[in-house]
Structures are given as C-alpha cells and as structure tokens.
Assembly symmetry: C2
Homo-oligomer: 128 residues x 2
DNA sequence: ATACCCTGCGTACCACGGTACGGAGTCAAG
DNA sequence: CTTGACTCCGTACCGTGGTACGCAGGGTAT
C-alpha cells in the first residue's frame, strides 16, 4: 500500500485538497493516525472510500446519507441498502415531477409570448 | 386599498411574517414608506407582488431572478422575459436529465439487489 | 542554508432560502 | 394603567456542499 499525500489522494479522487479535508471533517474519510512527522499518509483504502463517495453522490445521495451507506458497506446490510435506494428513488421521482411541471408551464408561457404580440407579456402576466 | 398589517399580508401570501421581512431585505417587496406610527401599511399591490414571487418561484426561478422579473414587469420587457424563460428551461432540462440519470442507475441497482441473493450487495458494490 | 512548496489545523466565508431572537415602540381592550 | 398582542429593526443562525485563507511546521531542490 503505497503512501499517498493528501494532494495525491485528492488528485486520484478528482477533488481538491480542501474537499478531502472537508470529507474528513464530515466523517466520510476518517483522519489517518498522526504520523510522527506532520505529513500523514493515505493508502488505496482511502482512494476507494473517496471514489465510493463520488459514485454515491452521482446517484443523488447527500453526504449524510453517504456516511450511512459507508457504514452499511462495513456491515453489508443489504435490506437497509435497498430501503435507502427506494427512498432515494422516491425523492428523485418527486424532484423530477416538480421540475417537469415547472418546465411545462414555463415552456407554454414562452410559446404564448413568442406567438401572440398583443397585450401584456404572458410570462409576466402568469405570475401577476 | 384597505390597509393590511404585515401578519395579514403574510397570511394572504401563504408565508410567514419573517419571510415577508426577508423578501423586503432582498428587494422583492420594497419597504412601505414609514408611517408616522411604527406600524406600516400594506395594500393589494403588495399582495400581488408577494403572489408573483411565489408563482415565479414555483416555475423554478431563484429569488435573484425573480427580482429581475419584477423589474421586467415594470418595464414590460418581453424579449428579456422570453430570454430568461429560455435560460430557465435549459437549466430545468439539465437538472431533469441529471436526476433521471441518477434515478435510472439507482433503480437498476435496487432491482439487481432484490433479485440476486448471492455475493456482495450490488448497490454497495456499485459505489465501491 | 535558504528559498519555496506542501502539510495539517482552525476558522471564516460563499450561495440559497429562510428561521429565530431580542429590544423597543405602538395600540386596543379590560 | 397595565397587559398582551402586534409591529419594527437588526442580527445571528440553520442545512447543504463546499472554497479560501492564515499560521506554523516539515520536505525538497538548488
């Protein structure tokens, strides 16, 4: 396990040095035991953890949920993992529905505004 | 134009008193001219403005953008309103695509996890 | 050895949309 | 006249995901 410095770990994870430290503060990455010298070492385990965080983040989990997922990863609690996935999917569906609705109404307003040239602007009138 | 107190205005707009004051600070609602007494009065114009904010917010605009929309409402600048609507639709499309992608991958993982009962949990393994 | 970079650490700050609190003034009812 | 509800105003704080900065020490190249 070759020793990495924080900047190398950050680079391998595609994040900044400050972000690694931020994750450490949030308990997502765990502070490595203090080495005798000021500089601490990170290994492939830390790189895996960091990539796990980025992957889970891409799936829409927030950092506090990712902390729980990391814990499940230790205990291999599949039922809980499925439950969290279901919850997250439900939230994603709700978010998508909300945005789609906003998009549809806004799209219609923009269309009306472009076609009709009389009266007040439909976009502004819709909110008024 | 019957005079309203801040709590009545807030109630008509479906927000809290603190939120009205927050919008005033953000320039979305404009402080009414100081009355002689400490208590200030609000009218139907303020109610319209507050409702405009909530409507525009539902369409996915952020407060800073709504401030601009309110300004367009004064000047009736339709081209700019259409431009903002287009920009907002583009952003909504990007957001919807991102969430849909997250939903699809997570949905597949949950399915795999429910069907296959051997090996490590696919949900957790996907991030690992 | 001296300059320069990187390290850990703590703290403050950013956007975003609010929420909460404390002090002082005002107003109407009892 | 006192009580209680309401108002104004400023300021600080919440969660979310970071970013930035300054300090003191250690590592490395010239």
């Amino acid at each position: 396990m070759k020793a990495l410095r924080i900047s190398e770990l950050a680079q391998k994870g595609g994040v900044g040095v400050e972000t690694v430290r931020f994750y450490q503060r949030k308990g997502l990455l765990g502070h490595p035991g203090s080495a005798v010298s000021g500089t601490r070492h990170y290994g492939s385990e830390d790189v895996r953890r960091l990539r796990f965080v980025k992957q889970a983040q891409a799936a829409g989990f927030k950092l506090s949920e990712i902390a729980e997922l990391l814990d499940l990863n230790r205990t291999d609690d599949r039922p809980r993992a499925r439950e969290m996935a279901r919850e997250r999917i439900g939230q994603l569906d709700a978010d998508i529905a909300r945005l789609s609705s906003a998009r549809a109404s806004l799209s219609k307003l923009a269309e009306d505004c472009a076609s009709g040239c009389d009266g007040p602007c439909p976009i502004l009138a819709a909110f008024d």
